[in-house]
C-alpha cells in the first residue's frame, strides 16, 4: 500500500512540475509584456505648459523672432523674475520644440492679434515630474532643481500644466531631446529594408523550393544544397551582418547605413526560412492533382506554375510572413552594416542613410536620459503590435486559404 501511495505522490509531484514549468513560461511572458506596456503607455502623452500670449498689433510672422518673442511673453507672465539666472530657469522648463510650436502659432495667426493661453511643449525633465516617473525628494525632483520646481509650482497652481497627446512620437524623426524624439524615420527605414528583403528573398526562396522539391534529381548536389539551407537557417544573425559588411559594403561599395544594404542582408537571412516553409507547402499539395495535370498533357513546368504553386501559395505566404516578421525584429546584422547612425532626416528612399525600428529601440535604450525609458517602451509597443498583427495575418491566411486534402 505504502508503495502505491508514494508512487501516486510521485505522479502528482511530476504533474505539478509540468504545471509549474508551463505557468512560469506564461508568467514570464506576462511580466515582460506588462512591464513594457505599463512603462510605455505614458509616452503617448506629453506635458505641455500654458503660456499667456498677448500680441496686440497684427502679427507679421516674418518680423518676429519666435525665440525672443516667446521668452518676452514668458517674462511678461512672471514680472517678478528679474535676474538672468531666474529667467534662464524659467526658459529651461520648456523644450526647444516650444519655439517651433510658437512659430507655427504665429504663422497660423498671421495678420491677427492674439490674447489667450496657448500650450507649449515642456522639457523632458518637467515631463518626467508631471507624469510622476520622478518624485520630489527634498528640494529637487530628478534633474529638476528647486528653483525650477518653484516656477513649475506656480504654473500648476494656475492649472496651466496639461498632458496632451504626444504628436512627436509617431510623426517625428529621431532627436537628441527625448520630448521631441519620434520613430517615423525608423519606421520608414524598416519599411524600405523589409521591402528590399522581400524582393530579394521571396522569388529566390520560392524558386529554390520548387527546384529542390520538384525538379532536382536526388544526387549529391541536391543533398548538399538541402543540408546547406538547413544549416543556414541556424547561423547566428550577426554572422549575416558580417557577410553584409564584407560583401555589400567593402566589396560592392554600397553606401553605409542605407536600408538597401540592410534589406539585402536581412533578405539573405530570411531566405532559408522561406525555402523551408515553401518546401513543406509544396510537399503538401497532393500528387494526384499534378498527375492529373500531366495526364492531360501539360508539361512539368506548366504543372508547377499552373497547379502546384497556386495551391501551395497560402502555405508559402504564411511562411514568408513569419520570416519577414523575424527580419523586422532583427537588430544585430543592422548594427554591423552601420544602420546605427543618428539620423534626423526621414529617409526618402532605400539609398538614404536610415535606421530601423529595432535599432532605434536599441539606441534609445542606451540613452542616459530618463525620459527615453518610456519612449523606448512605447517604440517596443509599436513594434510588438505590428508583429502581432503580422502573425495574426499569417494564422488567418493559413486558416482561410489552406485546403485540407
Amino acid at each position: 500500500m505504502n508503495n502505491i501511495l508514494s508512487r501516486n505522490n510521485a505522479e502528482k509531484r511530476f504533474k505539478v512540475y509540468g504545471v509549474l514549468a508551463v505557468s512560469t513560461a506564461i508568467i514570464l511572458l506576462g511580466i515582460l509584456l506588462f512591464k513594457i506596456f505599463s512603462t510605455g503607455i505614458s509616452a503617448f502623452n506629453q506635458s505641455y505648459i500654458g503660456v499667456k500670449i498677448e500680441i496686440n498689433n497684427s502679427i507679421n510672422s516674418s518680423e518676429i523672432d519666435p525665440r525672443t518673442e516667446l521668452r518676452q511673453q514668458l517674462r511678461n507672465m512672471f514680472p517678478e523674475l528679474t535676474t538672468r539666472a531666474e529667467k534662464r530657469t524659467l526658459y529651461s522648463l520648456f523644450s526647444s520644440g516650444a519655439t517651433y510650436e510658437f512659430e507655427d502659432l504665429l504663422k497660423t495667426n498671421e495678420g491677427k492679434t492674439i490674447n489667450d493661453y496657448y500650450y507649449f511643449l515642456a522639457s523632458d525633465d518637467v515631463d518626467m515630474y508631471v507624469k510622476g516617473t520622478v518624485k520630489r525628494e527634498g528640494d529637487s525632483a530628478g534633474r529638476l532643481m528647486s528653483d525650477q520646481l518653484k516656477i513649475l509650482d506656480q504654473f500648476e497652481e494656475q492649472n496651466l500644466v496639461e498632458l496632451h497627446i504626444n504628436k512627436y512620437l509617431l510623426a517625428g524623426a529621431d532627436s537628441r531631446e527625448p520630448e521631441m524624439a519620434g520613430i517615423k524615420g525608423a519606421i520608414y527605414g524598416t519599411f524600405y529594408a523589409i521591402l528590399i528583403a522581400f524582393i530579394t528573398s521571396f522569388p529566390l526562396g520560392v524558386l529554390t523550393a520548387i527546384y529542390l522539391e520538384k525538379l532536382a534529381k536526388k544526387n549529391r548536389i541536391s543533398d548538399i544544397i538541402e543540408t546547406n539551407i538547413n544549416n543556414l537557417a541556424a547561423v547566428p544573425s550577426i554572422v549575416f551582418g558580417l557577410l553584409g559588411l564584407a560583401i555589400f559594403l567593402n566589396f560592392f561599395n554600397l553606401p553605409r547605413s542605407a536600408p538597401l544594404v540592410g534589406g539585402l542582408t536581412l533578405g539573405l537571412m530570411t531566405l532559408p526560412t522561406i525555402v523551408i516553409a515553401a518546401r513543406s507547402a509544396i510537399k503538401s499539395v497532393p500528387p494526384s492533382i499534378e498527375e492529373a495535370a500531366i495526364g492531360l498533357g501539360s508539361s512539368k513546368v506548366q504543372t508547377i506554375f499552373n497547379f502546384t504553386l497556386p495551391l501551395a501559395m497560402p502555405g508559402i505566404l504564411t511562411g514568408t510572413i513569419i520570416g519577414i516578421a523575424q527580419a523586422i525584429g532583427e537588430t544585430a546584422p543592422l548594427l554591423m552594416i552601420g544602420m546605427v547612425a543618428f539620423v534626423v532626416d526621414i529617409p526618402g528612399g532605400p539609398m538614404d542613410p536610415a535606421t530601423a525600428l529595432p535599432v532605434q529601440i536599441y539606441l534609445w535604450a542606451d540613452s542616459p536620459e530618463r525620459a527615453f525609458v518610456e519612449r523606448t517602451s512605447a517604440a517596443i509597443m509599436v513594434l510588438l503590435i505590428f508583429l502581432f498583427l503580422l502573425n495574426i495575418t499569417a494564422v488567418y491566411l493559413r486558416k482561410k486559404l489552406e485546403k485540407k486534402w
Binding site: 527546384y211 558580417l242 564584407a246
Partner: protein
C-alpha cells in the same frame, strides 16, 4: 542618357519583341491550324528572353571591365604615390568628386587633370555603352523574330530556361555559405598575420583597444580570446539551466498531461516568446531583471555583484530559448509511437513512470538534439548580451561577475568609426569565424541526431 534609361530601353525592346513574336506565331497558327508546335505565348516569352539576355550579360561584364580600366588609368595620374592604399584613396576621391556634388577636391598636382580625364572618359564610355547595348538588343530582337516558325520548339526551349533559372536560384544558397566562409576566412587570415593563432586561441588576456597604440610592443598579449569564450559559455550555461528544466517540463506536460484545450491555449502563448525581438528582451533585462537581481544581491548580501553580471544576461537569454526547447522537445516526445506509451500504461505504470522510463529514453536523441540547437542559439544570440552583459573580458566562472561574449565583442569592435585594417577590427572577424564554426558544428550534430532518430520511428 543614363544607365537607367538604357535599361528601360532594353526592357521596352524586349516587351516589344514579346508582342510581335506572339503576334507572328498567332498568325502562323491561324494559317496552319493546330500544326504549330508551341502556343504563341511561349514564342513571345522565348523571344523576349533572347532579346534581353545578351544585353544584360554584356552590361554586367562591361561594368566590371570599366571599373578596372578606369582605376588603372587614374592610377597613372598618381604614379608618384607608392603606397597602393593611399593611391586608391586619391582615385576614390576623383570618382567621388565627379559623381557627388558634396565632396571636396583633394590636394594633389594632378587632381583636376585626373577629374577632367575621368569626366570625359565616363561620358564617352556611357555613349559607347548605350549604342552598343541598344544595337545588340535590336540584333537579338530581329534574330529571335526570324526563329519563329510552325515547328520551332519555343515551349521546350523556354521551359529549359525556366528550369535553369531555378537551378541557379537553388545554388545561390550555397553561394551564401561560401560567401560567409570566404569573407570571414580572409579577414581572419589577415588577423593571424599580426597575431599568432595560439595567442588568440589560448591567450587569457583580452583587451583589443591596446594594440592601437603603435608604441605598444607586446600587442599580441591583448588578443587572447579565452576569457571571451568562457564568458560566452558561462552565459549560455546559465541560459540553459533556466530554459532547460522549464522547456523540458513544459514539453512533457503539454504532450503527456494537458487536455486538448489547455494545449491549444498554452502552446501558442509559449510560442509567442520566440516571436519577440531580442532587442526587446535586452531592454527587459536592463529595466526589470537587472534591478531585480541587484536588489536580490543586496538582500542576500552577495559580494561583488556586478550590474552587468552573467546571471542577468544568462537568465533573460534563458527566457528567450524556452520556446525552442519546448517545441523541439515536444516534437520529439510526440514522435514516440503510441504503442510504447500504451504498453507501459497497460502494465500498470503511472504516467510519470511511463514518461521518465519509456518515453524520454525512446526520444532521448531528439531531446539532446533540441538542447544542442538551443545551446547554439544561445551562443549566437547578440542583442540581449550586448545590452545586458559588459564589454570587459573577465576570466571567471562566478555568475555574479561581469563577463563578455563573442557577439558582444564583435558588435563593440565593429560599430562606430573604425579603420578597416587594424588588428582590432580584424579580430572581430576571427571571433565571428570561431562563432560560425562552433554553431555550425552544433547544428550539424543536432540536425543529424534529430533526423536519424526521426527515421527510426517512421
Amino acid at each position: 542618357m543614363s544607365i537607367e534609361f538604357i535599361l528601360l530601353t532594353i526592357i521596352g525592346l524586349s516587351a516589344y519583341s514579346f508582342y510581335i513574336s506572339k503576334k507572328k506565331a498567332a498568325a502562323i497558327s491561324a494559317i496552319n491550324g493546330a500544326e504549330i508546335h508551341s502556343q504563341p505565348y511561349y514564342h513571345g516569352m522565348y523571344a523576349a528572353f533572347l532579346t534581353i539576355s545578351p544585353a544584360l550579360v554584356l552590361l554586367i561584364v562591361w561594368s566590371f571591365i570599366e571599373d578596372t580600366i578606369i582605376t588603372m588609368r587614374l592610377r597613372d595620374y598618381f604614379s608618384d604615390i607608392t603606397e597602393p592604399s593611399i593611391a586608391n584613396f586619391y582615385i576614390e576621391g576623383v570618382i567621388n568628386f565627379v559623381d557627388d556634388v558634396n565632396s571636396k577636391a583633394m590636394d594633389h598636382v594632378n587632381f583636376f587633370t585626373a577629374t577632367e580625364y575621368y569626366k570625359s572618359t565616363m561620358h564617352l564610355n556611357l555613349l559607347l555603352k548605350s549604342i552598343v547595348l541598344v544595337m545588340l538588343t535590336i540584333i537579338a530582337l530581329r534574330y529571335s523574330f526570324k526563329l519563329i516558325s510552325a515547328d520551332f520548339k519555343a515551349r521546350d526551349l523556354f521551359e529549359d530556361v525556366v528550369i535553369k533559372v531555378m537551378n541557379i536560384a537553388s545554388i545561390f544558397a550555397i553561394f551564401i555559405t561560401i560567401g560567409i566562409v570566404l569573407s570571414l576566412l580572409f579577414e581572419t587570415l589577415r588577423f593571424f598575420e599580426s597575431v599568432p593563432v595560439q595567442d588568440f586561441l589560448f591567450g587569457t588576456h583580452w583587451s583589443p583597444q591596446m594594440s592601437i597604440r603603435e608604441d605598444q610592443v607586446g600587442s599580441s598579449g591583448s588578443f587572447g580570446a579565452v576569457p571571451v569564450f568562457t564568458g560566452t559559455i558561462l552565459i549560455s550555461i546559465i541560459a540553459m539551466s533556466v530554459a532547460g528544466p522549464i522547456g523540458l517540463f513544459s514539453a512533457i506536460y503539454l504532450s503527456q498531461y494537458a487536455s486538448n484545450r489547455v494545449r491549444s491555449f498554452a502552446k501558442p502563448i509559449i510560442e509567442v516568446l520566440a516571436g519577440i525581438p531580442t532587442v526587446v528582451y535586452g531592454f527587459f533585462a536592463v529595466i526589470t531583471v537587472g534591478p531585480f537581481f541587484r536588489e536580490m544581491g543586496i538582500f542576500f548580501d552577495i559580494e561583488g555583484f556586478s550590474s552587468e553580471s552573467a546571471l542577468i544576461a544568462g537568465s533573460v537569454l534563458g527566457i528567450m530559448i524556452i520556446p525552442f526547447i519546448a517545441s523541439l522537445t515536444d516534437d520529439a516526445l510526440s514522435a514516440v509511437p503510441r504503442s510504447l506509451k500504451e504498453g507501459s500504461l497497460a502494465m500498470g505504470a503511472t504516467l510519470s513512470e511511463t514518461t521518465t522510463r519509456v518515453i524520454i529514453p525512446a526520444s532521448f536523441h531528439g531531446i539532446v538534439g533540441s538542447f544542442l540547437l538551443a545551446f547554439s542559439r544561445a551562443i549566437g544570440e547578440t542583442m540581449i548580451v550586448v545590452m545586458a552583459a559588459g564589454f570587459a573580458a573577465n576570466l571567471t566562472a562566478n555568475p555574479f561577475d561581469a563577463v563578455t561574449t563573442v557577439t558582444v565583442q564583435i558588435v563593440g569592435l565593429l560599430t562606430g568609426d573604425q579603420e578597416f585594417d587594424s588588428a582590432k577590427t580584424l579580430s572581430a572577424f576571427a571571433l565571428a569565424f570561431v562563432l560560425f564554426f562552433l554553431t555550425l558544428i552544433l547544428n550539424v550534430i543536432s540536425l543529424s541526431i534529430v533526423k536519424k532518430y526521426r527515421e527510426q520511428y517512421e
